[in-house]
């Protein structure tokens, strides 16, 4: 195990009590336990409170633009498959602006970890409803409440054969660390959603609200994360009962391995000599 202090980053700008803090702590713990060195790790994020996460950690970082972390992360993996790549973004970012890339990532199955900090709100822009906001959520743009139901991201993932789907809760540090570790050691796209209370803007989905509802899915007598229909049913649960844990696993070949071009290792810094005469000969 490496010392978790190894990953200490710059001072955070989150609100006291924010669910992002326990996530940061648990993530560092997972990295330390898995002995992933900062220099071998790239955190990719986008825009939102959750997307500041990589700054508060010592590692390579690409903090890109809103909704577009997955394409950047996939590009990194395709240039250097020896890097450990983790995406840390918000619900608004990935399920709103970035929805199309989520669909594509499930198909591609690159070997990376996608962590969505789900606080059911657009926090950084001060509290608008996000795609996961519960129906009826009131905000400045919806004084009568959001009229339609939320997205079901986990069911979406299962339906598209995402190779690993799990959920955890920022209020359960140990569970969270374990889930980070599982996601980080999965080969292929590991999609981990974390219920992350926003103490400032989300006065409904609080620590208490989640704590009352979450249950560890492994405790179910019918636990069968390799059974797609089972996983689908569990992934669709939301309300009085919210499942956490590993919900779906489907071993699949990873994207990177479909490129023979990557067999020789990273593209990084590779400067192939190309036969000009041969290239031109095709046109004569």
């Amino acid at each position: 195990m490496l010392p978790p202090e190894l990953y200490a980053g710059i001072e955070s700008a989150w609100c006291p009590g924010c669910g992002n803090f326990p996530m940061l702590k648990a993530f560092k713990q997972a990295l330390a336990e898995l002995e992933i060195r900062p220099q071998d790790l790239v955190l990719v994020s986008a825009i939102g409170q959750s997307s500041k996460f990589p700054h508060y950690l010592k590692c390579n970082t690409f903090n890109g633009i809103h909704g577009r972390a997955l394409p950047v992360a996939t590009g990194i993996r395709l240039a250097n498959p020896t890097l450990k790549v983790v995406v840390t973004v918000g619900d608004g970012d990935q399920y709103g602006e970035g929805g199309n890339h989520l669909l594509a990532a499930f198909r591609r199955n690159p070997d990376l970890t996608l962590v969505v900090h789900n606080n059911q709100i657009y926090a950084l822009t001060k509290g608008q409803a996000s795609p996961t906001s519960d129906q009826g959520t009131k905000d400045l743009l919806h004084p009568q409440g959001v009229p339609y139901p939320p997205l079901h991201p986990l069911a979406l993932a299962v339906a598209q054969d995402c190779s690993w789907v799990g959920r955890s809760f920022a209020g359960m540090p140990q569970h969270l660390t374990e889930m980070y570790k599982k996601a980080l050691t999965h080969k292929g796209l590991a999609f981990l959603e974390v219920l992350q209370p926003c103490v400032t803007f989300n006065k409904v989905n609080t620590y208490e609200w989640y704590r009352k509802r979450v249950y560890e899915v492994e405790t179910r007598p019918d636990y069968a994360p390799e059974d797609e229909l089972w996983a689908y049913r569990v992934a669709k649960e939301w309300g009085e009962q919210i499942p956490i844990g590993v919900i779906f696993r489907k071993p699949r070949p990873i994207l990177e391995e479909s490129f023979p071009q990557l067999a020789a290792g990273p593209l990084a810094g590779r400067l192939p000599e190309r036969p000009l005469a041969e290239l031109l000969a095709e046109f004569s």
Binding site: N60, N63, R68, G75, N100, L276
Partner: protein, 568 residues
């Protein structure tokens, strides 16, 4: 008088217009002719009307011209549309099964399956092969090479089909012998080193490969697709990772990710797709990630005319993305220049850590030109990376005089590479320190100073003292240079100034090239005069006249001269 022959091959999409054009053009080039091929097609897969024009000469050609000397018509519509263009002494070759009516008095050779391959099931392809053969026959060139080429390209369909093609071409060649040979290419000698027939996008693809391209991502869009395809065909062989993205937003972000991680990366698209990329253009500039972006222009606004040509995206590309950010914009005027510009684009992107644009268009993309191997000099574009151990703290965005900071790759040492789209400190972390903001913003923009010094790419032609100057950019180079030659032939002294490097604007070179201009005619393929505006913005010089085209077809010397009538 040099030979100058225009062969128009027309029909409906799907009838095989291209399958005639390519082997024919290549045969001519191998025989020692200079050939330019332009394509005119619609945004549909079958039907409609499409045509290719092969211009053939025994001297170098700058580009296409108007007029038809030999008309190959695969259907009636082609006859209706193009026969009026047929020059006196010209000949019509037609598919006798498709063309019912040929106006009396037109010298014409009708080809039918019956006559070409009696007793076979060869169908349409026979007529196509026969027509190609007939053209060679008319031009007094041997048919054997063409017949082989056809047979080869149909080899996959079995020996029988290959044989049919060979025979039909030969038979077409024979049938042509009974016609007068107005133009003969019999005197040509094949070049010692074979010449190339290459499109603009193919040349850019070769340039990118020679520049060390290892990653490309994109989304299909005409006319960009042909460049993407040209790389795709060679990707596995040359170790390029290629990914088709779910949209253009992904395409550019993925390329940025790959470049951040150390691949030599490129993406591209056309107008509508470029709109979706603009946000990440700023991302590349802000994170100082090298990136080459091809924007293949076509007429807009919006979907516009997807398969036509335009130079309407210049100002858009210059300012795309919020707030000021550094970039370079290049626009090649020929395949050879396309190759050179591709190399330069990767070099600038690498050394300045900026996005570099290559502006092409449908005409540049698709039209094929005869080139010499010597036009493609090898050049190596090294990486500009910091690889020595940093010792202390590594700052990805260290403040430097040049604005260029030491770039490293993640995973290649203990130094952490932190990139951020927010305004950031030298070590890459987001900041609200507004003094740092000013330093960083100035640092990024400072790159433009040295970069400007590298902007040349001016081509001049014609009489260097002439008071009449035709200023143009990008793909219009060929037609404009020919217009200038033609003016000279008419006794009008004129010169061309062509720009293939537009931003940072090469102010001094342009000013000195334009010295002595009395009439400054800005020739460009858009309706509002985007280069004319840019010129005034950057130099204060006002174009006195303009020749503009925006019907989606490329310039021709004739079009330009018509536009100049009354002016010069």
């Amino acid at each position: 008088m040099p030979i100058d022959l225009n062969i128009l091959i027309g029909g409906a999409a799907g009838q095989g217009v291209h399958s005639i054009t390519t082997p024919l053009a290549r045969s001519l080039v191998r025989a020692g002719a200079r050939v330019v091929v332009v394509q005119d097609y619609q945004s549909r897969i079958r039907g409609g009307h499409i045509f290719n024009v092969l211009r053939v000469s025994d001297v170098p050609l700058a580009g296409p011209r108007e007029g038809v000397d030999l008309l190959v018509a695969l259907n009636q519509e082609t006859v209706a549309l193009h026969l009026p263009e047929l020059a006196p002494g010209g000949l019509l070759i037609y598919d006798a099964e498709q063309v019912q009516e040929v106006p009396p008095g037109v010298p014409a050779l009708g080809l039918s399956l019956e006559e070409l391959l009696p007793g076979t099931q060869a169908g349409e392809i026979a007529v196509n092969a026969g027509a190609s053969g007939a053209v060679l026959g008319l031009l007094e060139l041997p048919v054997a090479g063409l017949a082989e080429m056809l047979a080869e390209s149909f080899a996959a369909k079995g020996e029988e089909v290959a044989g049919w093609n060979r025979q039909a071409a030969t038979r077409g060649w024979e049938l042509a012998q009974k016609f007068p040979h107005a133009v003969s290419l019999a005197g040509l000698t094949p070049p010692p080193t074979p010449w190339l027939l290459m499109s603009g996008h193919e040349a850019v693809a070769v340039g990118a490969l020679m520049a060390g391209l290892t990653f490309i991502s994109g989304y299909p869009m005409t006319p960009w697709t042909s460049l993407f395809n040209a790389v795709a065909q060679r990707a596995l062989k040359y170790g390029v990772v290629l990914e088709q993205a779910e949209d253009e937003i992904c395409a550019i972000n993925m390329a940025i990710g790959a470049s951040y991680a150390g691949a030599r990366a490129m993406t591209g698209t056309s107008g509508g797709g470029f709109c979706l990329m603009t946000e990440a253009v700023g991302l590349a500039a802000m994170t100082e990630t090298p990136l080459v972006v091809v924007v293949a222009q076509r007429p807009g606004p919006s979907t516009g005319l997807p398969t036509r040509t335009s130079q309407g995206d210049l100002q858009f590309v210059l300012w795309a993305g919020q707030d000021d950010s550094p970039r370079a914009v290049l626009a090649p005027g020929s395949p050879a220049q396309g190759y050179a510009v591709a190399l330069k684009a990767f070099d600038l992107a690498e050394r300045y850590q900026i996005p570099v644009f290559i502006l092409t268009d449908q005409y540049f993309a698709d039209s094929q030109h005869t080139c010499r191997v010597e036009d493609f000099p090898a050049r190596r574009i090294p990486f500009a990376l910091e690889t020595e151990p940093a010792g202390g703290v590594y700052e990805r965005y260290a403040l430097t005089e040049s604005g260029i900071s030491p770039r490293r790759l993640p995973g290649f040492g203990p130094e952490l590479v932190v990139a951020d789209s927010d305004e950031h400190t030298p070590d890459g972390h987001l900041t609200e320190d507004l003094r740092v903001r000013v330093q960083m913003h100035e640092k990024r923009l400072r790159k433009l100073t040295a970069l400007a010094g590298e902007m040349r790419g001016l081509t001049t032609a014609g009489d260097p003292e002439a008071p009449v100057v035709l200023l143009c950019w990008g793909s219009s180079r060929g037609p404009v240079s020919e217009a200038v030659s033609r003016l000279a032939a008419q006794g009008v002294a004129a010169r061309m100034v062509h720009l293939s490097e537009l931003w940072p604007f090469p102010r001094e070179p342009v000013l000195s090239a334009l010295e002595g201009a009395k009439k400054l005619v800005v020739v460009e393929q858009n309706a509002s005069g985007q280069l004319m505006r840019l010129l005034r913005q950057e130099t204060g010089l006002v174009g006195t006249q303009a020749v503009r085209r925006y019907d989606g077809r490329p310039f021709t010397p004739e079009y330009i001269l018509r536009g100049l009538s009354g002016v010069v």
